[in-house]
Symmetry: D3
């Protein structure tokens, strides 16, 4: 189906069918179309992500010299991803902070676990959705789309994980992670038992909590600094 | 930049750089890679939107015969959009309800107004984001991307409109719409005056309130019925 | 029991019984009564609804010429109710908006449905109570009192529907409507099933959602514009 | 204007004007009217307050013998109000509790104060509205109507005090009382200063806090025990 | 185990082990230690409770002459506690208010009841924790420590009662009291039945509600006036 | 002042003064005292922290062999603190996780910063108070008491930081940290500017956000696993 979205609005009724009673006046508006529209054209908001690859946070923090390990790591990111994720650049004003962040991130998201890498990214996005964190939703929404090879699953995690048709295991996992995000003080043995009954071992429960906890940290650091996601994420795995 | 997302995860460190101290055990896990992963592959969640074009809501409501006006309207949608939006199909069990919905929707979103069509869609998405409505975020997020000719602005409205770099007018408009969504009982003259100071006429204030109100209705009807968005929306205007 | 409320306060202890220990000072205050009261008399708040029948909203929107259909409708309202509801006058600055609102309202609240007209008004008031919408609580609280021929049921819906002694059906209906109002993103199949188990068909679930959704829209339009209810509602069906 | 509410619904459009397009089916429903309504008549909810004067709380607590002081007090209530308020009967299972409650209530609501008796009742109702306490809204809503000699002011306090057109003093008073109810942990010197700037002395601030605090207690005791208000309150000062 | 907390920080790693990779720079910071710390020493916050025994509230209310009964009561407090609780001094600007408060407090917290004195204090602290009331948490946290002869139980009530390992009875009691504090409008027969099933009689339910209600009042009066607890409470029963 | 708390309740009125009217019955209860108390003695809750030093979390995770670096670190903790903090033992099932946690913790809380160590601990406790995290409130409340050499400041941070008399700098710091905890999605440039106006550099803003973020992570890991604090914390720096 060849689509030409630039020529017509995506909203469903591009021109009004003549169905309402005394809509004469309104219809004239439509016939004359755009020129009757009184609102200014919104050129301001065009290219909303234009500076996101250069002005990464709202804080002015001069970059430090990368250690050899971190230089190698950045090189590997560029080689494999095509860019260095902005969160790493944001941390690069201080090498001990950057290294501690990278060590914890890599362990949590990539080390062997009872949770698949996709499941860990699903937790990341569901937590970031509760916290409405723009950086993490863009970057990890793209990760869910890619790891799942499914352009829609990422959208579901971003928008409302409850609307996704998940199996019992993944639903229990996200229910725990989001309750832990919203009301950590109400988590009790019954919540852990719900995970056990869905097939998770105690080690898995730790990992669910650790990933959910980590993104509760990252969401807040990103929001506190107005961190902007690399623009490349938006295009990843859309088909 | 040629990307091959299917071959590697979008998350930023696809394989761990050798930076942490005693990570021997972990490193082995990475070297052996996927086969050591204990978690089940998530084939279940693959093709998350597979049935969304056929099983539109969770309610079993046999379709009614379309009136001539509605048949013409559906035909026009198919001709211009390539599909009939699922919300219209959901309403099509009862012609008076469908016609009343279409009349109100078309007037609000397409009739002449001090708000541009894009601005009305921005309100729609910011309100739907507060209410975490999957249907409306998918359908109207696509509308924002298309009307703005900007694939990122829609994401910003879906994720957190406060992260968008809006001019004063549009920021005031969305602040009013989202407060009206979250705490309608706290809207007072000071809120209306903030709109007036941002350049809106009283007629515009009505339109902001009416669009925000309409999506507070639609969000709830969609959530109450588990309404699914047409899968075509996901691909619209991503580049 | 002849009551003369104008002569004495409705609060229960109009003059203090001599029961507390060292209340000498306080008692003197009571004996000398009103003249010792230091607070200004609140003549300002007298006749709180005085202008509500003329200054209907906070927006200055000149009325449009009524279409023939709308003129006939207003006439019928005056004939049957004794007045034109202010919400209609508020919309009367634009005929297509007025007609779309009237069409949707009449279909939802008056067309045949598995819900009685009273039940639809009960939903309207319970939703409006959650949203603390003055206009809708006054107008539809009166409707509940009249349709139920019970001056107290309206008060219960306005104040806290959970305090009403409802049968299972109506309680399930209002629980769904109020959850849909408060947290639409948490509505799931279990919520729909609770309605089915209380005897509702899928078509009824649509109607519950549609009425609840409609008042989530109307509440916000009324709050956004400070819409005032016709003063006549207050007296309706109080005995 | 002679009204006959029993014969017609208070909702505004009692029969549909013929304004929508293809409403044939719907119109038939209306023409045939009530007999086509599928929903059961709600006789269950009729006389919603029928037992409220006899079954006062959900707790079975046998009444104690009234002390002489309390007997005199109850007699005075009957003489002046026509009934003993149910909250007093609810406490009458234990004389020390009843006496302590009466002593505190009478001091707060009736002793000399910089707040008028009406203002204290306005605080009572605005607090009870936040807490959605059926007992207190009925009993003290009636008190506001009577003390203000204004049938509408009580409704405004019950429904949303922000919709009332109050002078600065009373608005500041209620803003403080309701914030103290909703988020006591956020009250600070700035809140007290807002009262001082509105003309209140430090002694008045104590009284505002004490009345708001007292109803935060009473609301909870009433909700915890499902306390029912005397049915006579509903009719008081409606014209 | 002899501890010298004044000489070293209580936070767990007082000097960094040499475990991270390129932490050279950071380590230098630690070696040079305190003199590299750029932040000002916080002498301002030293002795945080210094004035709490003299400047009791933020309101200027001259004390009244104590009645004989209240003088005797204050004397007894000094004799038995070593001080007069600040809440009593705060009320001492008006004898009827002081006496009513004392009468209600003593009845609720000390009169015979199905709840032990400790249980009533546990309710007081759990409620005050929800309301984040500094005065009541300090004073009644000390009471729980003393009555339980357990320095930790008070901390648990202050911080999160859900973390305490309570028997079913006490857990049900606190769940009811805290729900009644947070959402009184949602308390229903099911909540009362949960108490009955945990062994409470209807009279006990009244007492739980009355104590919870009382502290919802006191918390607000304390927060409204910035009431400060006697400094002696902090030291009570810490071992 | 020699106190014997075991013999008398810490609540202020240990025996009732004879002030209320008809309290005969109640007084008898008091005279006969404890033996009339119907409630069971609460021996169950005695020694609330008894097992907290051995049963550290609710998860069964067998400890791993400590690496040399971690063994040295644990030894240093024992030498300097007298114990190994339970959070470290909880992580000790997996060396990479433990090392990453320690590296990040030490950098955040101990490395040179524009924030003093005390200020970082104040953030830790204020954040943990919002999240009602028992482990972190106990451990870091003790740290605030020790670093400030002030037994009360820790209590203020635990209970409600708004009640502390802080200078502008520290108040702004905690306001930012707690807003970032409660509503990270609402943090904007105005919030950062409030910190700048209170004297913080952009690097300090990062540190405030990083510490607040870290405890939003740790709070959730502790709550998810029911982590118990070492009992020794409770006694630290109480005088």
């Amino acid at each position: 189906m060849p689509q030409k979205p630039a020529k017509r609005p995506a909203s469903f009724p591009p021109s009004p069918p003549s169905l309402t009673l005394s809509r004469k006046r309104a219809r004239e508006g439509w016939v004359k179309g755009e020129e009757r529209e009184r609102a200014p054209s919104s050129t301001k908001t065009k290219e909303a992500a234009r500076d996101d690859d250069t002005a990464i946070t709202a804080l002015k923090l001069p970059g430090a010299e990368l250690t050899a390990a971190m230089q190698a790591y950045f090189d590997k990111c560029t080689e494999k991803l095509g860019f260095v994720p902005n969160v790493l650049k944001a941390y690069a004003f201080d090498m001990p902070k950057l290294e501690a962040f990278v060590a914890m991130y890599n362990d949590l998201m990539l080390a062997p676990s009872g949770l698949s890498k996709l499941e860990r990214e699903m937790i990341a996005v569901a937590v970031s959705s509760h916290n409405r964190c723009y950086y993490c939703l863009v970057a990890h929404g793209a990760a869910v789309r890619s790891l799942a090879d499914d352009p829609v699953l990422g959208e579901l995690m971003v928008m409302n994980y409850r609307a996704a048709r998940l199996d019992r295991r993944q639903r229990a996992m996200l229910d725990f992670a989001v309750k832990l995000t919203a009301k950590p003080w109400e988590i009790e043995e019954a919540d852990r038992n719900a995970l056990r009954e869905a097939g998770f071992a105690d080690r898995d429960i730790w990992d669910i909590a650790a990933v959910a906890g980590f993104f509760n940290m990252s969401n807040r650091l990103a929001s506190a600094t107005d961190m902007r996601p690399n623009s490349a994420y938006h295009r990843q795995k859309r088909e």
